[in-house]
């Protein structure tokens, strides 16, 4: 080896140059499709039958129950950062008032965590008549002093929402992933009727004032709650006598798609932020205080 070191060095250098210059940029490797499986699958897909095996009949119970609970933050939430509100300052930062980041709102006395969303994933039936609004508040989505007044807003699909602008300046309300991005003139309003479920909550922004941010969540059955300032929530009139699965979300959660993962063996909490519960008819089930550790919340 030693004797031919000069020549082999040349070769190595040559190889090195080719490797460095590269034939194509280094990209993350991707798995290739299984051609054989795809061929078989295509036969299934183009066949007229829905060939997928019988769908298990969902077990339905009777009566209605209520789910209650409370989220409390464990640890130091820190102080809310001021937002960079540098447009329309005569309205948006009146008298030097600073708009604050509201993504982690912890009640100082009760440690309650506000704006956690809890909703039923799949339900077999809905209690009639439908309540006016799942959250109990009137269905107005307002903005004032360059801030959305509801940081997290829940509604039933098809329920008309009065999108208002209480500012003396114009805003626009842009619900991402929806058909709604609408000018709202100063002091004006318009109606938005959500057409589809959101899955996890979707972001709402004002493009004129980019710091303005809120979330909306729409469910067909309306079984959705947003925790209040003290961290508490209540979902009434849930179908009883059948297993219900709930999804939990928080804006700053580190889980996938904002899912709030908790270490809670009693409720068999999953990393996807879900738990199951079966209610008895007329039962008001209180799942107590659920502790949210600082590690579940991102920066």
């Amino acid at each position: 080896m030693r004797t031919c070191s000069r020549n082999s060095l040349l070769g190595v250098v040559g190889l090195g140059i080719v490797a460095a210059a590269g034939c194509k940029a280094e990209r993350v490797a991707t798995p290739s499709a299984d051609a054989q499986a795809a061929g078989k699958l295509r036969v299934t897909l183009v066949s007229a039958s829905t060939g997928g095996g019988a769908v298990a009949a969902a077990s339905t119970g009777s009566g209605w129950g209520t789910l209650k609970g409370r989220f409390a933050f464990v640890g130091d939430p820190g102080t809310a950062k001021p937002l960079l509100a540098d447009k329309d300052t005569e309205v948006c930062s009146k008298a030097g008032m600073k708009l604050l980041d509201r993504s982690l709102l912890v009640d100082p006395s009760s440690k309650g965590l506000a704006n956690v969303v809890v909703f039923a994933r799949k339900t077999t039936r809905v209690k009639e008549p439908l309540p006016e609004n799942p959250t109990g508040a009137s269905l107005v989505f307002d903005q004032k002093q360059c801030e959305f007044l509801s940081p997290v807003f829940a509604a039933r699909v098809g329920q008309p929402i009065d999108v208002k602008n209480s500012d003396p300046i114009g805003h626009n309300t842009n619900v991402s992933g929806s058909d709604f991005n609408q000018l709202i003139p100063a002091g004006g309003s318009t109606t938005y009727v959500p057409k589809a479920e959101t899955g996890m909550p979707t972001m709402v922004t004002c493009n004129v004032h980019p710091w303005m941010k809120a979330y909306m969540v729409f469910r067909k059955d309306g079984y959705v709650a947003v925790t209040a300032a003290d961290g508490s929530f209540t979902i009434p009139d849930l179908p009883a006598g059948e297993p219900l699965e709930f999804q939990v979300w928080h804006e700053r959660s580190t889980g996938p798609n904002g899912a709030l993962g908790l270490d809670n063996a009693d409720l068999k909490w999953t990393p996807k932020g879900r738990f199951q519960i079966t209610l008895e008819p007329d039962q008001v089930k209180d799942i107590g205080t659920l502790e949210v550790p600082a590690s579940a919340i991102g920066t």
Binding site: L45, K87, Q182, P185, G199, E245, P256, N257
Partner: protein, 422 residues
């Protein structure tokens, strides 16, 4: 190792020959060979959804079954796509048996829009604005309401006119059959890309019993996933915005004055983004939906890695430690995915209205559509609902007058440095 020893002895005697042989080997095996074209998975979404390699493979397999390959596209009847048109547009550039040009997409489009329609073609990074990524199924310039798909005619018109002010050229010189085939192929890539996104997001929605595997049934894959996407495309033709015609006896001078009032007023509020000057210098640090998605992921990664850095691993249980390591590996992988599968995000400047260049078409009707419905994927909001049609026509007239406006220091008759004007 007789071979190695022969090499060694040969090296003593003929060093030049050896280098020449090495060079030839490199030529034969290295850059020369082009692998067959393939659809690249949406790695940004796959990584965002933390899919496992098995799950990524399942999505690729389902897509292969439903859509075929770039060289041999197939489509499910539910898509309503014309496979003959797709075949004309797909594959490598070549002539078929009757001498007809095939492979139109790769000839005219793929270098910017990418073989996959992911806007990651080799030239994409050099363009401003970036080319359109078809996969989210969001299109800007069309005659339908904000969230609706463009009509086939919208796509054909866009191919015919190009997109003024961008790198997208006009394909008016192509025979109409070729433009038709390309429009169909864009729909195909978009439906494919949106199906892929939907499937990748569906893993999160799975129940735990599914054990991380999507059901490979016709009901789930076709009825629940593909059909709703295809239906939106089919519905576009009947979803055109009904535009009341501009009154024939309109007083244009008065209309322009009213339009100006609306432009600067709190009702239409155009001034906030398009600027007091109309040069597009108002609120200008926002992103469009395509870039915003990358910006948001970037924030998530940097906050995740900041948190991981300040987390002390001492005192962690083995479970916590492996979770911590998995999180670090995910952050590291996401960084590499963004390097290779995303372009550097750019802000979207509001249109400079003194140019007289309108990306979605310069007809008064085109401007009406933009103001009425807003621009899907862009910050531009819809005025419908709060601004009545006749007022939208006033704004259209004012905007059309802006490049020729004579009064004021930005008047078309005033000398001005190009850098200030554009």
């Amino acid at each position: 190792m007789p071979h190695a020893s022969m090499m060694r002895s040969a090296m003593h005697r003929h060093p030049v020959t050896i280098i020449a042989i090495l060079g030839l080997c490199l030529l034969a095996t290295g850059c020369g060979q082009t692998p067959p074209a393939y659809f690249r998975p949406n790695m940004v979404e796959a990584t965002k959804q933390r899919l496992t390699p098995d799950q990524e493979k399942q999505v690729a397999t389902v897509l292969l079954a439903m859509f075929g390959t770039p060289d041999e596209p197939v489509c499910m009847p539910e898509t309503g796509l014309d496979e003959a048109k797709l075949r004309l547009a797909a594959g490598p550039v070549r002539s078929d048996i009757v001498g007809r040009k095939n492979g139109l997409y790769r000839e005219h489009c793929a270098h910017c829009h990418g073989v996959t329609g992911d806007a990651l073609g080799p030239t994409a990074a050099f363009l401003n604005p970036y080319p359109r990524d078809y996969r989210p199924g969001v299109f800007k310039f069309k005659s339908t309401e904000r969230a609706d798909k463009p009509t086939h005619t919208d796509l054909v018109r866009l191919l015919h006119n190009g997109v003024p002010g961008t790198s997208m050229p006009s394909f008016a010189l192509l025979p109409s059959a070729q433009v038709e085939a390309l429009a169909e192929y864009v729909k195909y890539l978009s439906i494919r890309g949106e199906t892929e996104l939907t499937l990748m997001r569906a893993f999160f929605e799975l129940d735990d019993e599914a054990q991380g595997k999507l059901p490979e049934t016709r009901e789930f894959l076709v009825d629940e996933t593909l059909t709703p996407i295809a239906e939106k495309w089919k519905a576009a033709a009947d979803a055109q915005i009904q535009v009341p015609p501009m009154p024939a006896d309109i007083d244009l001078v008065a209309s322009i004055a009213k339009g100006k009032e609306l432009f600067y007023g709190d009702k239409a509020n155009c001034v906030k983004c398009h600027g007091v000057t109309g040069l597009g210098d108002g609120q200008a640090n926002d992103y469009d939906d395509w870039n915003k998605a990358i910006v948001e992921i970037g924030k998530e990664i940097s906050s995740g890695s900041a948190k991981a850095r300040e987390t002390s691993t001492s005192g962690m249980s083995p479970d916590e430690l492996s979770e911590h390591r998995a999180q670090l590996a995910w952050i590291e992988k996401f960084g590499r995915v963004l390097d290779g599968d995303a372009l550097e995000p750019r802000t979207i400047p509001p249109r400079n209205l003194r140019h007289g260049i309108y990306r979605g078409g310069r007809r008064p009707l085109d401007l009406y559509y933009r103001i009425h419905a807003g621009i899907n994927g862009a910050p531009m909001p819809a005025a419908k609902g709060t601004v009545p049609p006749e007022e939208i026509w006033h704004i259209v007239n004012y905007i059309r007058s802006l490049p020729y406006e004579l009064d004021g220091e930005l008047g078309a008759d005033k000398p001005m440095l190009a850098k200030d004007r554009f």
